[in-house]
Chain length 371, copies 4
């Protein structure tokens, strides 16, 4: 049907999401609706719920595959674990952490904002100070983005866990892994993350439409007493249907379920750690290129370098938005705009998900029977 | 990739959603991601927002295309127009009205439930009595399903409006049109509906994934003072981006946007009133068939007959669930189960959306240039 | 893009080809071009050539997958095995055997036509008489359709072989299996068939585009001395590339190769003999229905009944073409026209390939890794 | 289903065919079979036959859309216009002209081969000499490739016409436009070409499967007396069905018909002359790049430079096949091998069909109704 902008050749998608979808995923989604109450869909769902835990590196977590976006996954994370007025320590380091904090405030939480200059990571010294002081355990949760998509900054979650352990602090650790999970090294169980979340259109390399949230046993426990009002995002409804073996409190997207199956199959085939290493190579290569262009990385220190997105600072006499516009109009190339505080100052190169890199194609596997 | 159940031939989908997707819609969705911040996506969105109003028969309404399901569309409707504790008159006539009422209660509203026997429509006499008494206007909203999908009952919305007008009552009229809009006669402006909602996988004949909500000017006004906590479902965020001309507070599904374009094109081509007439013919035909089988319609009176779904009562010595299971296993035919109170007692035939009927195919239109 | 005739619902395709394509095959073909000289395409081709032999029930045959239709596959069969002027015994029993005979004559062969009334099978008594007389072995080939698509008549190939053996006659047996292979019981090796051919759009349930020809060692030997001019259809070019391991003398359709892979996978999964049994059930069911309608089968004796197509004789006061036209316009249902001698007198129901039947859907296989 | 070689990212297809398919064409082909005897397919075919003439720049020609490849289109061209023993002047300038000459010889024509060094164009001085001498008009046809895909050499067809006119020679001009039509400046009527041919997988940017042949009135006239045996490739069968208005002597590929519709729509939208100019820019850019790399173009003179393919000569100590293999394994990049005489000496860059170039994307057209 209508193709709203057409030029010969292909779109070069280098935004930090939505990313390029692998052809096998597009093929898997090229299908009719199915009745989700038939025996086939629960059978598919059951194994998806099992397999999706691997992308979080958890065995004890409980995943929720919600028909929503990252914003909805945030809301599901907060409302299921906390009650209005609960104190959250939250780190403002860029546009996406800012938006999450805005959500936290609008949902009635008491947010203790720890702000850093954009381009720097979460200030964990401040966190330490707060934990030290909080002997009364008024802090109910730490909310942190693993990777700030607006500035290309990766936070150190292992240190967050170490600090909490050092002070024996019971706060929940809520992690936005939207631009990290399936691309950066993320270890839910090892780092004691209580809720982690991502969206299908990021490193999973699918269309938008699934907010995937994973809850630790402690988070599940918290959800039993959390008083935030919620229905659509309520884990309880999912858990009820998990027990019944039908899995879905409301109609899932059949197409996205098969797409997720295909995406997880590809991850399994390549190996999650190989995928993460590939992102490391591409992140490094991008930074070397930026350096070679004589431009500056918005990220101020190597420890925060992001392997999924690089925000490139342009000289002050240039509007970075013009670069993005020019790239689109002239090269059919999509780059990320600078957002909010860094609007006009940076443009962003997304290097996550289904992207080429220098590789050795394998001799093809030979299949003779239907998968 | 993996096809989890395969038998030769085609699945016969006769559930009241998700429904059969037309091939042009599947083709339109067979595509890569795009950057939603490029100029192309807002241009597409702008015209979608204009065209989608037609399915509600409104010119004054403001539509919101939300990446969610019907359940989320319900939540968006309630939380944007009402404050916790607000009194809602709500009609319990089947499983889906029950679930909506459950949501209303869990979201902290004061729900005045008007229950009917399953198989009967909303009791508008009770509504009248309540309106008559409510001279203080404590009733803030009437929440009603246009069509109860569990029992195949269509409520009379024109009468609801007449009653409100008769008593000059300012309550908002919130309508679940999930199994009616694009199939039954629905007139948002004429009937003074304040919020109407549907889901993409119903009569629009798309995959699941879009909750489409349309708000009257009065509803929009109400949203400015409604105190229900909300972020993901907050209209305010949409309105802000509408004004900026970029339209999306968070990442939309590119595939569903093009799918919606195709679905609206097909509606436009056939003509919405022709589509509604087609549903009338198919609904009538189904009821005649049920009668010919010697079976009873769950819907107790002709005035409530639904042209989108028929719940068929089986003889008491038969478990209707067995019929559904048998149809699936033996004929690759999906029917709707009886739910809750009517479990085992009825099975449901969905006759909405993209279904064949006796028709005269037209001589093909001749196109020589790209759309 | 343009959909030239659109009505709600689905097309009901009951012509004896092209047939309904299974969704997994459509998905497998939804892809970009690939370089057929890369290592991946030969690897795929090699296994396809091995697997495609199974549909002919041969282990000693050599298959050729030619970018053409059935008509081209006929031509490939004739020109590779015979020289101009060679005597062929050929059976005229309907429109498709007639067209093949026309081709044989136009290609310069000396065709000994054995005609039967349309609705009857090949007259093997005449064949026997000819073989008995032909002690000089002037007959170089027997050309016979396994199943005449115009009348729904299946010939008895086992008897053909018996007669040849009885008279120790060395004539090549050339079989048009277009509407039989993958649907009817066909045994290339056991029946001593020298060349068998089919087209992708028939019981293989793919799009048109592949003429699949399989040659016995004796046929291959004959091809070395056959003097018919040929290039595009010359097996020699294929054999040369088979030896080089690159397989293709000219560009293959990548999409059809992957589609063939998927189609063979589905056959393998269901089991070829189960597929043949399914066609027997559907053929029988169709004949029972025709009988119940009080109509006559064009096929005159049970021994010739076809399990892939039934030609239904209409009462003399009706034009069968009107039935076909009516079915298409009013029910979006495609039936086969009566052709040539039986035009206006019969309409045809194709019951081959990817069609539903009463079945027991299996509990879904569970796959967790990519195929 | 099975994806036989998979690596993250996309395949970079820079072979001179098959080329990259535009997404709208892939979408248009993502569909079920249809009955080609229904009214819809002839209606589509009729307009396709009209529109396809534009790619040849002819109004007087008669096109044949044959389910075959370029090799089959060659055969159709020769056998419909010539009789065995007829004298053809044919130019050997690379692998594809060599293969065509091989076909001409195997089909029994008397081929007068004019050979040039590979990298040079057809020697038109020799042609002139032959025409001058041939006062008896024993030369029945000139067979020439417009563009030799193996060496990247474009012949000057206007000069061929001028020579024929100068000597008032009636020989037919048969042109292989496989790697030129839809990409290079080609003018069937103006240049008095009698038969021109191309394949769908070349500059039309579709899958393999259609050999498109266009015949001048003079060629059609010649086909009435040409004695070459032919059936599958016989124009007469097409012409018979053209007259009947059903168009197809045997089953066409429904998917390719809709794909061709979409491909012609895209050509129409961009404008054929703009498309040709785009190829000029890309051809020029490629040659500049080759020069900048310090490598030599296989094409010896500027007048023969090809805007669809560049054969790059590698230093003598390098095997060009290794470059091609390395590009594929390491960069998922497909280049063309050197063939036959230039094997190991050149690699080829295809720059035809659906490729990006520096462009200005247009503000999107707004469509509100179905195409």
């Amino acid at each position: 049907m209508a193709d709203y902008v057409y030029g010969p050749g292909r779109t070069h998608l280098f935004v930090p999401g939505p990313v390029n979808i692998p052809d096998p995923v597009i093929r898997a989604m090229n299908r009719q609706n199915e009745d989700y109450r038939s025996p086939a869909v629960p059978a598919l769902t059951k194994i998806l719920l099992e397999d999706v835990k691997k992308i979080f590196k958890t065995t004890s977590g409980t995943p929720f595959i919600i028909p929503t976006t990252g914003t909805g996954a945030w809301e599901s994370t907060l409302t299921n674990t906390l009650s209005p007025g609960d104190r959250i320590v939250s780190f403002l380091i860029g546009q996406f952490s800012l938006l999450w904090i805005d959500q936290q405030q609008r949902l009635g939480f008491n947010v203790d904002v720890v702000e850093s200059e954009w381009g720097r990571g979460a200030d964990l010294d401040v966190l330490e100070a707060k934990l030290r002081q909080d002997t009364a355990h008024t802090i109910k949760a730490i909310a942190i983005v693993h990777n700030e998509t607006a500035t290309g900054v990766t936070n150190n979650l292992a240190t967050v866990r170490k600090l909490l352990d050092a002070y024996r602090h019971p706060a929940l650790v809520l992690v936005d892994g939207v631009s990290s999970i399936c691309a950066l090294d993320f270890r839910m169980d090892e780092w004691g993350v209580d809720v982690a979340l991502t969206g299908s259109q990021k490193a999973l390399s699918m269309p938008t439409g699934l907010g995937i949230v994973c809850a630790s046993p402690k988070a599940l426990e918290a959800s039993k007493t959390a008083k935030s009002l919620r229905v659509f995002f309520d884990w309880k409804d999912y858990l009820k249907f998990y027990e019944m073996g039908t899995y879905w409190p409301y109609t899932p997207s059949i197409q996205l379920l098969y797409g997720l199956r295909a995406a997880l199959d590809l991850l399994e085939e390549e190996g999650l750690d190989n995928v993460i290493n590939r992102h490391t190579r591409l992140g490094t290569a991008t930074r070397l290129a930026v350096e070679a262009w004589g431009l500056k990385n918005c990220t101020q220190k190597e420890e925060w370098f992001s392997n999924t997105v690089t925000a490139v600072v342009v000289p002050s006499y240039i509007d970075s938005g013009e670069i993005v516009k020019h790239a689109w109009k002239r090269y059919n190339l999509s780059l990320g705009l600078g957002l909010n505080k860094v609007a006009g100052k940076v443009f962003r190169i997304g290097h996550l998900g289904n992207l080429n890199e220098v590789s050795l194609l394998q001799p093809p596997p030979i299949h003779s029977s239907i998968p």
